[in-house]
């Protein structure tokens, strides 16, 4: 029983680390820029296919793809910001939401044309291997994906806390006018923030693709997961996002172990509903809090 519990907890923690980075970029963009980027999960899905194509065409290990995804998706994010976000930043939040929803639908449909709705997996050398610690078996692929997610989370935390540009990003989220007054080009920095958010989504997509099967349609599930992380962890800190991811991972792992499979998603969606009922302001409250 103890062995089983240790397995469930380890599995939950590793999943939670991956879920945390799925929510991290969404949290950053929402907290700093006030943009509800519902297209976030579409970029997660693109990250999965990025790793898939590099693996299929070049035989590139997803670990390398994880680090490659960051600059590639950062660039993609800044392009999307320049092409779309600068046009909608002065419109109401609901109009912005519709625009981002349109982007999500566009990406999903183009991805379906490119890759069909077939479910894909990436089978790396270590995909089916396990690490044995006494009587505890840990899937190596989850260990690697979780470790990569932890590295990315720590990098984000250190970047926002210890670099001047990171502090400027936090300042911009806390008082935009004051940030402008001290000379910060908030529009330029917003492009960086959006780029970082999308870089995080792309990397999360690679990590998720290492562990789960995926198709263009699975992005909707990741959107719910990412929002669950943001709503549970709020936008207070990278640490809170990490804790929220870990809670969700553990809940999923425990539900999978002790409940019929059909109930797993029900538990998580009920959790989302409960949080929204308890924190009636929902995302409005979240937006008011600054990173």
């Amino acid at each position: 029983m103890l062995d089983r519990l240790a397995f469930i907890i380890t599995d939950g923690i590793l999943l939670g680390l991956i879920y945390a980075i799925a929510g991290l970029g969404l949290s950053l963009v929402l907290g700093i820029m006030g943009i509800v980027n519902v297209a976030h999960s579409a970029f997660i899905m693109l990250g999965s296919f990025f790793a898939f194509e590099l693996f299929r065409r070049l035989g590139l290990d997803p670990i390398i793809s994880f680090f490659l995804a960051m600059p590639v998706f950062f660039l993609l994010g800044t392009i999307v910001y320049r092409a779309l976000l600068t046009r909608i930043e002065r419109v109401s939040q609901s109009q912005g939401l519709v625009a981002m929803f349109g982007l999500m639908v566009l990406i999903e449909n183009l991805s379906t044309i490119a890759w069909t709705t077939d479910t894909r997996v990436i089978t790396a050398a270590y995909t089916n291997a396990s690490l044995v610690l006494g009587s505890l078996y840990i899937a190596q692929v989850k260990l690697i994906a979780g470790a990569l997610a932890l590295v990315l989370t720590l990098l984000f935390w250190a970047f926002l806390r210890f670099t001047l540009i990171g502090r400027a990003i936090r300042a911009m989220g806390q008082n935009r006018d004051a940030a402008l007054s001290v000379g910060i080009d908030v529009r330029r920095l917003s492009a960086v923030v959006f780029g970082l958010g999308i870089a995080c989504a792309g990397a999360a997509g690679v990590a998720l693709a290492m562990v789960f099967p995926f198709s263009p349609n699975t992005q909707i599930q990741w959107l719910a997961w990412a929002f669950l992380v943001v709503i549970l962890g709020g936008l207070g800190s990278v640490a809170n996002t990490l804790i929220a991811g870990l809670i969700i991972g553990l809940l999923q792992s425990l539900s999978t172990a002790f409940l019929p499979f059909d109930y797993v998603y029900l538990v998580l969606y009920v959790l989302l509903a409960v949080i929204l009922v308890l924190r009636r302001e929902g995302l409005t409250l979240v937006v008011k809090r600054a990173i």
Partner: protein, 245 residues
């Protein structure tokens, strides 16, 4: 800072500006700020005082008129480009970054020095030397400080960039009389360093006390103006007139 000269450092000419098209708050304001002087901008609520500062600071683009800093028209300059020209705004109310520490707040005031980190670090330490009471608070989040302490952080964040023109909006709002007096003393110290200050204030008596010259705005237009002596003694009459008593 250089010695005081007589050519205006900041000239506002026929500025028309507002937040809604067709409804200007400023309806042709004219103003001159002499270098090394404190120029007061007074007037009743809704006169357009804060709007004028926001227009000068680049947050509001005038629909017509000129805002000339030295020889350059800065009317269309975006707000983040003003610090490069050493013109800085201290807005009304709290403007710290509440979750950043005092040291981080002050450091961001030196954003334009970001290419030279050693110089920036020195400038931050110079601010702690100038405002020693902030040193003990350097690692505290700015949002956890008292109103007076936050104002001191805001002033240090303003001064670290070595601005030659300071746009100060209602510096004593929400402060106790003792702390407000300290703020006005600091403004006089900044003037003594040769900096030019454009001071918007509801506290007419305190503003006139330190201003070299003052303009009174009414409904977005120039009303009366004059040096300090022109206002001394008539403050009660002026305020009663604003209040319509």
């Amino acid at each position: 800072m250089n010695a005081v000269s007589s050519a205006p450092i900041l000239k506002i000419a026929n500025v028309v500006a507002g937040y809604t098209a067709g409804h200007p708050v400023l309806r042709g304001v004219n103003l001159i700020a002499q270098p090394g002087h404190i120029t007061g901008v007074l007037g009743p609520n809704g006169a357009g005082k804060s709007t004028l500062l926001r227009a000068i600071a680049g947050f509001l683009q005038p629909s017509s008129g000129r805002i000339v800093l030295g020889d350059e028209d800065i009317a269309a300059l975006p707000p983040h480009r003003h610090m490069e020209r050493r013109i800085a705004l201290l807005p009304q109310g709290r403007s710290t970054f509440p979750e950043l520490t005092v040291a981080e707040n002050i450091e961001l005031g030196g954003w334009t020095m970001r290419g030279d980190r050693a110089r920036l670090r020195q400038a931050v330490e110079a601010m702690f030397a100038r405002y020693p009471h902030l040193r003990a608070l350097r690692d505290r989040p700015a949002g956890s400080l008292s109103g007076g302490q936050q104002r001191a952080v805001e002033i240090a964040r303003l001064v670290i960039g070595d601005p030659k023109v300071l746009l100060i909006d209602e510096p004593s709002v929400g402060l106790s009389p003792i702390v407000a007096a300290q703020v006005y003393r600091e403004l006089e110290a900044l003037k003594a360093e040769g900096r030019t200050i454009l001071l918007v204030d509801q506290d007419v008596r305190a503003a006139i006390k330190i201003a070299d010259y003052a303009y009174v705005l009414s409904s977005g237009r120039n009303d009366i103006e004059g040096d300090r002596s022109a206002f001394e003694g008539d403050l009660g009459v002026m305020v009663r007139r604003w209040l319509g008593v």
